[in-house]
Amino acid sequence: MQMSESLDDLYRDVILDHYRRPRNQGLLPNPDLKSEGFNPFCGDQVVLTMTLDGAERIGEVGFEGEGCSISQASASMLAAHLGGRTLDEADALVRVFKGVMQGEELAPEQEEALGEIAALQGVREFPIRVKCALLGWTTLQDAIADYRKR
């Protein structure tokens, strides 16, 4: 009996690395944006905090969470890649990532823009885990929507 190769497509090394050593761990004390995501089906949780400068550019990012490797690694990768992006750019990134999870193929320049996040493409082969990968991203979308409603 052995773990199938397809399992390695899901749990790429970079994903397991983010799971074991999550980046941007810890909530910021005075965030400009904050949102909590919860997946009621599996109990996975992500809390995301960010600071903004005057031009709606993301400064610091901190997250905490609890859940499976895919949900937590995806949130860690997201958190690590948000700093320096404007909210519009972050929003665009979410839309690209959601498209990928829904089966859209990436153009080479999109894949390059996603960087290590592109490793999560393998999740598509495991439809039940797509919602895990998306948790941090929908949490970010909620945070941006809340901010813009203010």
Binding site: M1, Q2, R20, C42, G43, C68, S69, I70, R129
Partner: protein, 416 residues
């Protein structure tokens, strides 16, 4: 002598492969697989007898009605109900419990009354009572779980002392495997004048259940967890409790006489089976009951106790594993909920799947129990049935060892 290999041969699905390896199906608390006679009963019904029941004098209608009512009689005999009229066909356990909430509790509960349930319930035996309490003005109180994963009965008399009208409890926990002392609790509830609903979703498929021996007023269970098809279940109602129930759903099939202004109700069980029922699945449930009866429920129970003992023994090899459930196997069903170091249950489940081993991961529809009493966000759960083998337990344990290797130092991660 219980011949598990002969039993397995009756289940076509058990010979399939998953991910290139033989299926090891250990998610029986979620749903059971189906033996050939149950599948054949479904096909036979639709190929030869399909017609609507309780109406029409043509041959097919008579055959369908006869088979449907025979199935009711089989299910009634299986749980030793006094009469087939005490068995109402429903979709599943959840619907059965909602039927009691809608047809009994909504009629009988008054402000100040008390519903007593427990901390180890499935959502389906908790959420309807939260709603019933809210809408009637009754209060909902819970028997606590003790440290050994059994119910703490020290509060029982106090909880039953004042205006307790209903006790709703599981017979066997889908998370812990705990088999509750339903008979003793029913006796105590009777003395206090309360009715008793037993959630038999995890007991009726796995051990001998006798409603007259227990003395309960309601017993709810699903067909699909006991070799029957999905979409049919049953609610037993005692003759006394039946008298206290109004209709559940209103419309066709459940009426005696209808005028433009009013309607009167058919006698039970028809009164509670509005609309065209799930005839084919009820008949196939009858076939499932025949199959279980031929095996003998005491034999099924004995097989599962032996398998659970073997599994718990093998789990001791896994230093990282923690299991949740009573140590005394005489009060434990074939359920092993566990955690495995820092590997998240969903990752365990995914890794096991790649070895062909099917288990469940999550809160098992018992969110407060898992999160507030076991104090974990989720557990992994292997659950056994009459066709599982020690070799399959071995496959599970090997796959868990591989999972630990695969995720390696994942348990160095300390969330918060």
């Amino acid at each position: 002598m219980y011949d598990v290999e002969r039993v397995r041969a009756d289940f076509p699905i058990l010979s399939r492969e998953v991910n290139g390896v033989p299926l090891v199906y250990l998610d029986n608390a979620a749903t059971s697989q189906k033996p050939a006679p149950v599948i054949a009963a479904l096909v036979d019904y639709y190929e030869r007898h399909n017609a609507n029941v309780h109406r029409g004098a043509h041959a097919l209608a008579v055959e369908a009605t006869t088979a449907y009512e025979e199935a009711r009689a089989k299910v009634a005999a299986f749980i030793n109900a006094p009469s087939p009229e005490n068995v109402i066909f429903v979709r599943n356990t959840t619907e059965a419990i909602n039927l009691v909430a809608g047809a009994w509790a909504a009629e009988r509960l008054r402000p100040g009354d008390r519903i007593v349930s427990t901390e180890i319930e499935h959502h389906s035996n908790l959420v309807p009572w939260q709603h019933a309490a809210r809408t009637s003005g009754a209060e909902l109180r819970l028997l606590a779980m003790a440290d050994d994963y059994t119910l703490d009965l020290s509060d029982l008399d106090a909880l039953l002392s004042a205006n307790a009208r209903l006790v709703a409890l599981t017979h066997s926990s889908n998370v812990l495997g705990t088999i509750t002392p339903v008979k003793a609790i029913t006796d105590a509830a009777r003395r206090a004048g309360a009715r008793v609903l037993v959630d038999g979703a995890q007991s009726v498929p796995h051990l001998p259940v006798d409603v007259q021996d227990i003395g309960c007023d309601f017993l709810a269970f699903s067909g699909h967890k006991m070799l029957g098809p999905m979409g049919v279940g049953a609610l037993y109602v005692s003759p006394d409790a039946m008298e206290e129930m109004g209709p559940f759903l209103r419309g066709g099939e459940m009426v005696l006489e209808v005028t433009y202004a009013d309607a009167s109700w058919a006698p039970p069980p028809m009164k509670f089976e509005a609309g065209t029922p799930n005839v084919a699945d009820a008949i196939a449930l009858g076939a499932a009951v025949d199959y279980l009866g031929a095996l003998g429920m005491a034999n099924v129970r004995e097989h599962e106790i032996a398998l659970t003992a073997y599994a718990l023994e093998r789990f001791r090899e896994l230093e990282e594993a923690e299991t949740y459930g009573p140590a005394d196997l005489s009060i434990r069903g074939g359920v092993v909920s566990f955690s495995l170091g820092g590997v998240h249950p969903h990752d365990i489940s995914q890794a096991l799947d790649s070895c062909g081993v099917a288990i469940r991961a999550g809160h098992h529809c018992a969110m407060p129990l898992v999160r507030s009493r076991l104090n974990v966000p989720a557990t992994a759960r292997a659950s056994f049935y009459l066709y599982n083998t020690e070799a399959e337990v071995d496959a599970l344990v090997s796959a868990l060892k591989r999972t630990l290797e695969y995720f390696g130092d994942a348990d160095v991660r300390k969330p918060r």
